[in-house]
């Protein structure tokens, strides 16, 4: 087993919901991340899947130290990202980049493409003007845009084209890891396919490692080698893609998979429609967070939170009844 590129350990992020309130006695915290741990290996794509409020986007931002973590650690190779100085952090930032979901707000509307893609080079003072120009040009062409784009402004491009610009910008500093936070969710299906193919090509060509975050299971399945399923700030299951889809063990993962609409008519599906809503993230229950909606729960689940335990090579689940589910498959 090669050494991981990224090691995340018991990462926690709590958002306090009260500001300067003089009269509020209760300080409730939204536990966006409630202790997640995982590794990412060089060259692989780890997918993170979950619904809104599960903490996946928060995880991305905390890992890059864009927002401060409440607890836990994130190691990039041998460095603990949270204990780096500002200068060291700036240096590490060259190796870890991020692509966002909304192609309309992730680039500065007042800058032309040349400046946008070249900004990372300018921030780190890399290369002469001519060298930067060449680098930007090569990136623009690599992502499938024409070189006349360089002088244009964001509003002149479609969503798919802007997303390519964002990808080009992420590649500027030759990063090792790219975190993709819902990069295709806002795109039409036909454009989505183009961008996903591009991401795959770039990974093969540059040896990139991806952390791919999405709520769309089909997309995540297509691009990931391993997948982690998150629910309310915790990882409930993590497994190689094929194993997750063939033998999901966590009840939430099972219902998630069964709920995904598939554009086929003549297939029999065992749809599990969950009852009830997601619990209030400010008042998480004591035991398993999925208890209120779980169709496999036992009394133990209400009071004791399950640990993420490996039950098959590379396949870990956080569920008290995982073994019995496994037995029935």
């Amino acid at each position: 087993m090669p050494t991981p590129l990224i090691r995340v350990n018991e990462l926690k992020k709590y958002f306090s919901t009260d500001g300067f309130g003089l009269f509020s006695k209760k300080r409730t915290a939204v536990k966006a991340l409630n202790g997640i741990s995982f590794d990412i290996y060089p060259g692989e794509t780890l997918g993170i899947v979950g619904e809104s409020g599960c903490g996946k986007s928060t995880a991305a931002r905390v890992m890059l130290r864009l927002i401060p973590a409440t607890d836990g650690s994130v190691f990039f190779k041998e460095d603990n990202i949270f204990s780096l100085s500002t200068g060291e952090l700036k240096n590490i930032r060259k190796k870890m980049q991020i692509i966002f979901q909304d192609p309309f707000s992730s680039i500065d509307p007042r800058k032309n493409i040349r400046k946008i893609i070249g900004e990372p080079l300018s921030i780190h003072g890399i290369g002469s003007r001519k060298e930067r120009e060449e680098r930007v040009l090569s990136l623009v062409e690599r992502v499938g845009l024409h070189k006349t784009c360089m002088d244009k402004y964001p509003h002149e491009f479609s969503g798919g084209q802007r997303q390519r610009i964002v990808i080009a910008r992420a590649l500027t500093l030759n990063p090792e890891l790219i975190i993709c936070d819902e990069p295709v969710s806002a795109l039409d299906v036909s454009i989505q396919a183009q961008v996903l193919n591009l991401l795959k090509e770039l990974q093969a060509e540059f040896g990139l490692t991806y952390l791919f975050i999405s709520h769309d299971l089909s997309v995540v399945k297509h691009i990931s080698d391993r997948i982690a399923v998150m629910y309310l700030g915790k990882i409930v299951e993590i497994a190689p893609t094929r194993d997750l889809f063939e033998t999901p063990l966590h009840p939430y993962a099972i219902s998630l998979l069964s709920a995904v609409p598939v554009p086929r008519v003549n297939i029999k599906r065992n749809r599990i429609v969950l009852t009830g809503d997601v619990p209030d993230p400010r008042h998480l229950p004591e035991g398993c967070a999925f208890y209120s909606r779980c169709f496999k729960r036992i009394p133990k689940c209400k009071t004791i939170g399950p640990e993420l335990l490996e039950c098959d090579p590379g396949h870990s689940v956080a569920c008290h009844v995982a073994n019995s589910i496994k037995a029935t498959q």
Partner: protein, 279 residues
């Protein structure tokens, strides 16, 4: 052929008649102030003791005051002072206010708290009283007038910039810059500030109008600097002669109205042009 945001601005301006009118007024006033020596027939301080308090006629297009000075020439020369004053006020207030607003909005927390409380303090005073106190304490000169007025209008710019910054700060391209290693100062100057420009420019045109009125009010109350010729001082001079020589106050009053009309129309037009297109 890519249309840069700046070019689109001029094209849209062409479509908006009112804004065009507003800008034309301002442009004319600037021209007048620049070519004052050529337009004015007389020296503004020149006395014509035989023709005091005369109604407008062929020689004295806007009449004369109690010292026989040509009102028309005085208004023309006054354009310079008034425009200069209001421009300086807006630049100083805008510069300081924008900087404070950027810091306040971007850093939040204690910085925001302190800056906003100072602004609250400034805004708690009735504007003119504050200016009066400053003038009274430090003397009535044109410089002090400009500084006093600038202080009054700083909070307007600070609040505006702060609120705009709060919105921009949450946009993803700011996070992307951070992720690329950019520091706070760089982000503020390079990304946040340019995106604040639209509302700032609009606010500036509005404040230009307010400044003229405040300056006129201060002069009218006798706190203008006596050696300067501005629309406000001319208006003030005519205070005692409102019934028998109203032209002394009417014409500078009209000039002020024109200017405010121009800035308001230009400001409205700018808002229409800049905001929706930027979406």
């Amino acid at each position: 052929m890519s249309v840069r945001p700046k070019h689109r601005f001029w094209i849209s301006l062409g479509h908006n008649k009112l804004a065009l009118f507003g800008f034309s007024i301002l442009f004319c006033l600037v021209l007048i102030s620049l070519s004052a020596p050529f337009i004015a027939r007389f020296n503004p301080g020149e006395l014509h003791m035989l023709k005091t308090l005369q109604a407008p006629d062929a020689d004295f297009l806007m009449g004369t005051d109690e010292f026989g000075r040509d009102i028309f020439s005085r208004v023309i020369y006054g354009t310079r002072t008034s425009l200069q004053t209001s421009l300086l006020v807006v630049l100083i207030a805008g510069g300081i206010g924008t900087f404070l607003g950027l810091c306040s909005g971007y850093f939040s927390g204690v910085t925001d708290f302190i800056i906003m409380r100072i602004m609250d303090g400034l805004m708690a005073f009735p504007a003119l009283l504050l200016a009066l106190s400053i003038m009274a304490a430090f003397g009535a000169s044109q410089t002090n007038l400009i500084l006093a007025l600038a202080i009054i209008y700083i909070p307007s710019f600070t609040r505006l910039t702060r609120n705009t910054t709060l919105g921009i700060r949450e946009l993803e391209f700011i996070e992307a810059s951070k992720a690329a290693g950019a520091g706070s100062l760089r982000i503020m100057i390079d990304h946040v500030f340019p995106n604040c420009l639209s509302p700032l420019i609009i606010n500036a045109t509005v404040i230009l109008g307010y400044t003229i009125l405040s300056e006129a009010a201060l002069s009218f109350l006798g706190f203008g600097s006596p050696s300067q010729i501005s629309w406000g001082t001319i208006l003030s001079d005519g205070r005692d002669y409102v019934f028998n020589a109203p032209w002394i106050s009417i014409y500078p009053g009209l000039a002020i109205s024109f200017f405010v009309l121009g800035t308001n129309l230009a400001g409205d037009g700018l808002r229409d042009i800049l905001d929706p297109r930027m979406q």
